[in-house]
C-alpha cells in the first residue's frame, strides 16, 4: 500500500490535512509523522504549515527535519501547502527577515497595510476567504478543476519566486500574486485545498494519483 506522509513539525492543521487526504485516497495509507526515516520512506509527502515563518523554521530545525524535507522535495511527489509553500524559498520578510529552506530563489513578502482593491476600497489583512485561482500552466494537479475556481486562503504574506517559470497559478488581491508553483516533482499552493470543498479535494486527489512527472 502506497504511503503518504503528512509532515508534522508542530505547525498547522495536520489533522485536517490528513483527514482530507484520507478522504480522497482510501486505498493509500496516510500518516502524520515527524520521523525522518518515515518521511524518507514515504511514496508521497505533504508539507503543510501555518503560523509564523520563524517558528516553522525553528520547529523544523529542532526536529532535525530540514534535510529530509529538502530531500523529499527532490525525490518524490511533494505537495507544499500555505507556509509549506512559502518556506521553500530562501527568504521571508516575516519576523524581520527569516532565512528559509532555499529550495528556490525568491522572497516571501508582506501584502502591506494599505492594500487597495479595484474600486480603491480598503482590503483587509489577512487575505482570508475564497478567491479565484487563475491557472497559468497545464498540470496533472489541475486536472478536473475549472480554471478560476475559488479556493480558501488565509495569509498575510505571499511568495515571490525569482524564476517565473515556477508559477502554476496566480490570484488577485490588491496585487497579482503567485498562488501555486510547480517544478519537477514539487507542487505547492498558497491556498488550503483541505479546506476548499470539492475543488480542494480534487486537487488533493490529483496529488495522490500523481507520480511526480
Amino acid at each position: 500500500m502506497a504511503q503518504i506522509v503528512v509532515i508534522d513539525y508542530g505547525m498547522g492543521n495536520l489533522r485536517s490535512v490528513a483527514k482530507a487526504v484520507e478522504h480522497v485516497a482510501p486505498d493509500q495509507s496516510v500518516i502524520i509523522s515527524s520521523d525522518a526515516s518515515e518521511i524518507a520512506n514515504a511514496d508521497r509527502v505533504v508539507f503543510p504549515g501555518q503560523g509564523a515563518a520563524r517558528d516553522c523554521m525553528r520547529e523544523l530545525e529542532d526536529r532535525e527535519l530540514t534535510q529530509v524535507v529538502l530531500n523529499s522535495a527532490k525525490e518524490k511527489p511533494f505537495l507544499g501547502i500555505c507556509m509549506g509553500m512559502q518556506i521553500l524559498l530562501n527568504h521571508s520578510e516575516e519576523n524581520e527577515g527569516i532565512e528559509c529552506l532555499g529550495l528556490y530563489a525568491g522572497n516571501v513578502r508582506f501584502f502591506g497595510n494599505d492594500l487597495k482593491g479595484e474600486q480603491n476600497e480598503k482590503l483587509k489583512i489577512p487575505h482570508m476567504g475564497w478567491n479565484n485561482v487563475d491557472q497559468t500552466i497545464d498540470h496533472p494537479l489541475w486536472q478536473n478543476i475549472k480554471n478560476h475556481s475559488r479556493f480558501y486562503f488565509v495569509h498575510s504574506y505571499y511568495m515571490d519566486p525569482e524564476d517565473k517559470s515556477l508559477v502554476a497559478a496566480t490570484c488577485d488581491y490588491g496585487i497579482n500574486f503567485v498562488s501555486a508553483i510547480a517544478k519537477d516533482n514539487v507542487f505547492a499552493v498558497q491556498c488550503h485545498p483541505e479546506k476548499s470543498a470539492q475543488d480542494g479535494l480534487q486537487l488533493l486527489k490529483n496529488f495522490t494519483l500523481w507520480n511526480g512527472d
Binding site: 479595484e118 489577512p126 480558501y152 488565509v154 470543498a197
Partner: protein, 257 residues
C-alpha cells in the same frame, strides 16, 4: 473577480446538540451538529462556526468530539468558540480539527491571552468575538460597550477601541455580535458593524439579528462586513445557504457559488 464575501452559518451547541435562543434565552432544539454541518456544507457554506454554550466545563469534551466528527466529513473552515480560556484550549480545538478558535470573555479578563495565543498558533487561527450593546441614548453620538457572559455583564469598555486593541494584539478576525439585535430578526446593527470594520484592518464578521436575505446584503454593503453570520434563518430551513448566496449575487455582491 476577487475575494468573495463569506456566508457563515453558526451553530450554537449545548451538550452536543444544536440549539438557538432568542437573545440568549428560550433555547430551541435544532438538531445534530454533524448532520446540520453536513447540510450547510452541501448548500455551499463558506465556513461553519460552532459556539459551545454548554454551561458546565465538565461537559466541554462533548464539543471536542463534535468538532472531530465534523472535521472528518466537512472540508471547509471550522471555527469553534465558547469556553476558550487558555492556550491549551486553543490547541485542543485545533487538534480536534478546528481551523480557528473564537475567544470572547477570556480576552476581556486577560487581553494578553490573545497575544499569547496568536503568537503560539498564528493570528490566522485567532478570532476575537465581541458582544456589543449600544449604550448611547437617542440624540447622543453612537457608542457601544462590550458585554460578557452571553450579554449579561457590562464591562465599561468601548467596542471600537476594544476591536482596535484586539487586532493589535494579534486577532486575525473579529466576530462582531450586536447584543441588541441577536435573535430579533430585524437585521444587523449596521452602524456598529461599519464603525468596527472601518476601524480595523482585519476581516469583520457581522452577527446578530438576521431575519431575511436582505439583511445579509445590508451587512456587506452598508455594514462593510467581510463575512456575514446567521443561525436561525438557516437552522429552521427558512432559507438555504445557496438561496442566500444567489440573493447576494443578484445584488452585485461577489460570493462563491
Amino acid at each position: 473577480m476577487s475575494l468573495a464575501k463569506r456566508i457563515i452559518p453558526c451553530l450554537d451547541v449545548k451538550n452536543g446538540r444544536v440549539v438557538k435562543g432568542v437573545q440568549f434565552v428560550d433555547i430551541r432544539d435544532a438538531g445534530d451538529p454533524v448532520e446540520v454541518a453536513r447540510r450547510y456544507d452541501r448548500e455551499g457554506a463558506d465556513e461553519i462556526t460552532f459556539l459551545d454554550i454548554t454551561a458546565s466545563s465538565d461537559d466541554r469534551e462533548t464539543i471536542v468530539h463534535v468538532v472531530e466528527k465534523v472535521a472528518e466529513q466537512v472540508f471547509i473552515p471550522l471555527t469553534v468558540g465558547g469556553g476558550i480560556r487558555e492556550v491549551k484550549d486553543v490547541r485542543r480545538m485545533l487538534n480536534a480539527g478546528a481551523d480557528k478558535v473564537a475567544i470572547n470573555t477570556a480576552a476581556v479578563f486577560n487581553p494578553e491571552f490573545v497575544k499569547e495565543a496568536s503568537e503560539r498558533v498564528g493570528s490566522q487561527c485567532i478570532v476575537v468575538a465581541i458582544d456589543a450593546k449600544k449604550v448611547s441614548t437617542e440624540g447622543e453620538k453612537n457608542r457601544w460597550e462590550i458585554f460578557t457572559h452571553g450579554g449579561r455583564k457590562p464591562t465599561g469598555i468601548d467596542a471600537i477601541e476594544w476591536a482596535i486593541k484586539m487586532a493589535d494584539f494579534g486577532a486575525g478576525e473579529i466576530l462582531l455580535t450586536s447584543m441588541d439585535r441577536d435573535g430579533t430578526k430585524i437585521g444587523f446593527d449596521l452602524e456598529l458593524t461599519a464603525a468596527i470594520s472601518d476601524a480595523v484592518n482585519v476581516p469583520v464578521i457581522a452577527s446578530g439579528g438576521v431575519g431575511n436575505l436582505d439583511h445579509l446584503v445590508d451587512g456587506v454593503t452598508k455594514g462593510k462586513a467581510d463575512a456575514v453570520l446567521a443561525a436561525s434563518i438557516f437552522h429552521f430551513a427558512e432559507y438555504s445557504v445557496e438561496q442566500a448566496k444567489r440573493h447576494m449575487a443578484s445584488k452585485g455582491i461577489e460570493v462563491r457559488l
